[in-house]
Symmetry: C2
Subunit: 317 residues, 2 copies
């Protein structure tokens, strides 16, 4: 591949082991399906489904599941040039329970340490990160060294005019405390031009969980676009110039809410790169998220643009 | 339950996630079946299938897979009175690859530490351990504290006349070095009256992998029965009085060699408790192991006595 990538994401990868039946407690699940997973990885897959050139900066174990990750990335059209093995650390696996519409507990096996937290700043392809259309990083990438320094370094390489997204992705089990997560999210926000998070994540990052105040607080940190996911209330997006979009939820039968945020993210990258007006960007991302929520898989369920458009047209009709 | 248990085992438990198809590399496996697993647990299940009252001393995470473990134990008729939760440590999961007839790589997720290595000596039911017909412990239980001290304490409670089995079970990934494993195996052998291991495990425990010399070295440590599993060569058992049994392998189509040793162990307990002559004990255990090797599951595949007898009769015919 030559030229700049449209989207580079940086962060988690792993193998998701999901029940093949919904509504069953994990202790009763007899068979599991194996899927590519990890938030940053899913966002890259989602962007690739919209025709964007995408790569993920991540790390796997030197094991069969690591080989699966690369194979799956290739299948989804995500460039794996920034994926490397970390010998001695197993590729993480994650189990979930599916209690639609709104309860999807996760059980992470990211021990003794997730390989994706071993990304080092000196391994980064600085030119590629500088040149990418969108750089997408996550707060989870800040939870341990050397990934924290590497994530901040990657964000610091970006021109201030570029699309640099911080996904406020917060998982309490990866942190000593919410305060610690908030401290590093705050530092990362210095370099971001777009921030995306749900209400709980906004609370951790900027101490606000009322949507309008949370968006305002994110804009106060210097981002040009704040996207606040309000769950059943839809999405609020506020731009630095004051433009505000409220997107209502798209009604779908929810199968698995996991991955919907990543579908939203990949579609958001696509819409921002396309230069669409804000209402279209957010409406498109919102519909993409809804489509994935209506499907069992995450990475494997990321919709192509025409599927998203069809849902938007259907929802309007 | 009143009275002494026939069999108490002590050691590993976990959830086995096995490919639903054989001969496929792990990176290509799309669906996994979920089974009860862990060597000491499997031995208790195997003994229970022969009608023995059995319990396992082990620990799970305080999580859905921990609840599954108890549910499965109940289903298999294994007493769970010595099973407790260890908050903060996930119930281990183990993946395998199935390349019959002799290659079954395991991928353990026993991090940051397996709950079953958190068994403490002060938690042991001393009276129950003293009184049990068979006490079964494993070298893996010696790989970390406090489990090591607890395992040695449990073995030390046993009268010298009792059936006290040390399974030489050695997994390199659980140890700093083979020497360290050998040092603790040696200490545990002081308390054992029966030792069971394959050739590699005998090498670690007593520095010998030639079958007759390995059995002799185990007897020199004070056990009254040394059982050396020779893989495709069958089993060699030598008693302290010199009685020697060579059991040839039982020809079966191998599906999954994992769990065969545990089936052997549970059947060995049964035969020893029954007071059978040594050839019958070893022949029965050997056939039980072969039956499980011919089946996908481990715990779920443990045979009842009549199935073992049928195979023995069939093999003779």
């Amino acid at each position: 591949m030559t030229g700049a990538l449209d989207v580079i994401t940086m962060g988690r990868v792993g193998v998701d082991l999901y029940p093949l039946r919904s509504g069953v407690p994990l202790e009763e699940v007899e068979t599991f399906g194996r899927f590519l997973g990890g938030s940053a990885t899913n966002v890259a897959v989602a962007a690739a489904r919209h025709g964007r050139s995408a790569a993920v900066i991540t790390r796997t174990g030197a094991d069969p599941f690591g080989r699966f990750v690369r194979r799956a990335l290739a299948e989804y059209g995500v460039d794996d040039r920034f994926v490397a093995d970390v010998p001695g650390l197993p590729t993480p696996v994650t189990f979930c329970e599916l209690f639609p519409p709104d309860d999807f507990p996760l059980y992470f096996y990211r021990f003794p340490k997730a390989p994706d937290l071993e990304i080092r700043a000196d391994e980064l392809d600085r030119a590629a990160i500088e040149a990418a259309g969108v750089m997408w990083a996550t707060v989870t990438g800040l939870c341990a060294e050397p990934s924290r320094t590497a994530t901040l370094a990657a964000l610091g390489l970006r021109p201030r005019s570029a699309l640099t997204v911080l996904d406020l992705d917060y998982r309490p089990m990866f942190w000593e405390s919410a305060e610690e997560a908030g401290r590093w999210a705050d530092e990362a926000l210095e370099h971001a031009t777009v921030a995306v998070g749900n209400l709980a994540e906004c609370q951790v990052a900027v101490g606000e969980r009322e949507p309008v105040r949370a968006a305002r607080a994110l804009l106060d940190r210097g981002v040009r676009l704040a996207v606040v996911k309000r769950g059943p209330e839809g999405v609020l997006a506020v731009a630095a110039d004051g433009e505000t979009v409220q997107a209502p939820p798209v009604p779908v039968p929810v199968v698995n809410g996991l991955g919907a945020g990543d579908a939203f993210g990949g579609a958001l990258c696509h819409g921002l790169l396309a230069g669409w007006e804000l209402p279209r960007v957010i409406g498109f991302a919102n519909a993409a998220g809804a489509l994935v929520a209506s499907r069992l898989a995450c990475a494997a369920a990321m919709p192509a643009s025409d599927e998203v458009t069809a849902l938007m047209n259907g929802a309007k009709a």
